[in-house]
């Protein structure tokens, strides 16, 4: 990869709090103009990493470079990156305009120029009419846009967003997603977006880093992450999946032959690092279908959940492994509890994990 295109280079960053390690040598790079998401459950280290980039936390080991320059020793106020905070942190005693102009004034802009630029950015987020209001007089969605405008105004090299949509209600959140993505494209600034919401991550990001327990589990495009998870954590965290214990017989060139519970042998795509022996096969519930033929596995129905367009069946394989199957509800009869079902596993859509 061309070194010049890298906006942020996180290089083996370790972060410890006393005896607790929040980041275990995280390495990743964020490219220029990219919408990059740090995705993971709470406590996975994503916010800590963001705060390390912003300069609110020291790193214990490792280095962070911005366009090739080491910024690790710089305090927050000397880093050309800006943050949209989870609770926005708009200065309650200042008007919207003063909030947006704050960073510009600190960078030595004249009051006139700062106001001009602030108004320009407010126009971008469609809040021109609210310039003289105090943040307390705005709705949650408006406050969110002020926070965005304030962080964008000084034209940071990278914009950091710490779960900026989590304080909004669902409907607004979906509208803001589109808007945010659009602003990112218009400004061409690299966005580093922290969220625990996989849907948010999948719909907005150019690339996603899935994190857990202070480790990066996988970095890839939304499609790669969803369709080709490398390990059990990613497969389980993104979307819904069945993890079947299989016996891996051969692994060759990205494919593997595995024996399903019950003995059927199928040929499936394999993640890098998958090895022969006991392993885990990830199969999405919608990729398992009841069949009239012998099927690849047989299961006994425990219960069902009616979801409108779909029906979700909870079943058990003969060895007791729980299995979730999603079938279209139109026309089909709902199998009663205790029914034995023959099921086909779509081999092309399953994936052998590297565990």
């Amino acid at each position: 990869m061309d070194q010049k295109n890298i906006a942020v280079d996180v290089d083996h960053v370790v972060k410890r709090y006393g005896s607790v390690t929040a980041l275990h040598g995280v390495t990743l790079d964020i490219r220029e103009g990219e919408f990059f998401t740090l995705l993971g459950p709470s406590g996975c280290g994503k916010t800590t990493l963001l705060r390390c980039i912003a300069g609110f936390e020291d790193v214990s080991e490792g280095m962070i470079r911005l366009h090739g320059d080491d910024i690790t020793p710089l305090p927050a106020h000397k880093r050309p990156v800006n943050t949209v905070f989870q609770q926005y942190a708009l200065f309650p005693h200042m008007t919207v305009l003063d909030n947006v102009a704050f960073g510009l004034a600190r960078r030595g802009w004249s009051a006139r120029d700062a106001e001009g630029r602030a108004r320009q950015v407010l126009k971008l987020v469609q809040l021109t009419d609210f310039a003289k209001r105090k943040p307390g007089q705005l709705s949650g969605g408006q406050q969110q846009r002020v926070a965005l405008a304030r962080a964008l105004a000084p034209e940071p090299q990278v914009l950091l967003l710490d779960e900026p949509l989590s304080a909004l209600d669902l409907k607004l959140r979906q509208a803001v997603r589109v808007e945010l993505k659009q602003i990112q494209r218009e400004t061409g600034i690299a966005f580093v977006f922290v969220t625990h919401d996989q849907e948010e991550a999948l719909t907005m990001s150019d690339r996603i880093a899935v994190m857990s327990n202070g480790h990066v589990q996988q970095i890839g495009t939304p499609r790669e992450i969803y369709e080709a998870p490398v390990n059990r954590f990613v497969a389980d965290f993104i979307g819904e999946t069945n993890l079947l214990e299989v016996d891996v017989q051969t692994v060759l060139g990205g494919r593997a032959t595995v024996a399903l519970p019950g003995g059927t042998v199928i040929d499936v795509p394999a993640a890098d690092g998958a090895a022969t022996g006991p392993g885990h096969l990830s199969v999405r519930p919608e990729r398992i279908t009841p069949t009239d033929g012998p099927g690849s596995v047989t299961a006994t129905v425990d219960s069902h959940v009616y979801l409108g367009t779909d029906i979700q069946l909870h079943a058990k394989l003969d060895d007791g492994t729980p299995l979730v199957v999603r079938m279209q509800s139109s026309g089909a009869d709902i199998p009663a509890q205790g029914t034995r079902l023959a099921l086909d596993v779509e081999a092309g859509a399953a994936r052998l994990l590297a565990d």
Partner: protein
Amino acid sequence: MAKTDLRRFAGFRVTTWLCLLVLYAPLVIVAVYSFNASTSITRWGGFSLKWYVDVFTGPEAPRFRDAAINSFVIAIAAATCATIIATAAAVAMNRTGRFRGKMASLALINLPLMVPEIVTAVASLIFFITIGFKTGLMTIFVAHLVFCIPFAYLPIAARMQSVPDMYEQAAMDLYATPWEAFRLVLLPLMIPGILSGFLLAFIISLDDFLITNFVKGAGIETLPTAIFGSVKQGIKPNIMAISTLLLGVSVVLVTLSWVIGRAGQSRN
């Protein structure tokens, strides 16, 4: 069946009114008698302002005037210094992370609240005499400053805890230096706390008798020591007038602090 109110206990309301009666009755009675026209302090002789006139023009007027000036000058100076020191201390305790001696510092700030007043008074006197510090206005000021610090600290620290540090982080994210983050963001948000801290310290300084009485030196009086000196010879009506005036000052200041506190609350 009627629902029982779990918050209600028989007799609690009566007790509360009794409590208010006990708290206010002596003050109200003194205030009423300060308008007594009679020279005898117990017989009611009709309404009059003559004792207030006496306070400002009577034989004791110069003594009380000097004492009042001393009291207010010391209270303003001590409260101002204590507020600045307490604000710095509150920043240190709430905004600078962990450091050695933090718990000891908290104990130190609260020390003037823990040491009984009479002990502080005695210790201060011994200290000033031993180091040869001439007792007078300066010693009163220093002693007041010390015990004003924790009173200023309490509301300031409480306010600072309620201001999340994300505002200053946002300021520093937007290129503000730590000093700018304090001056432009934290300080404006702290104004209600700082004002209540100042007022509290001011009232406490104005209130003090015991410590002042020990460290004031000969010939220097504050209002409480002057009043105490007069009362020792019996309660005279002019004392009641002065007391009522001082009571009025306290009520005005507390009301002010209350209104500021409420305004600060409703703004956030």
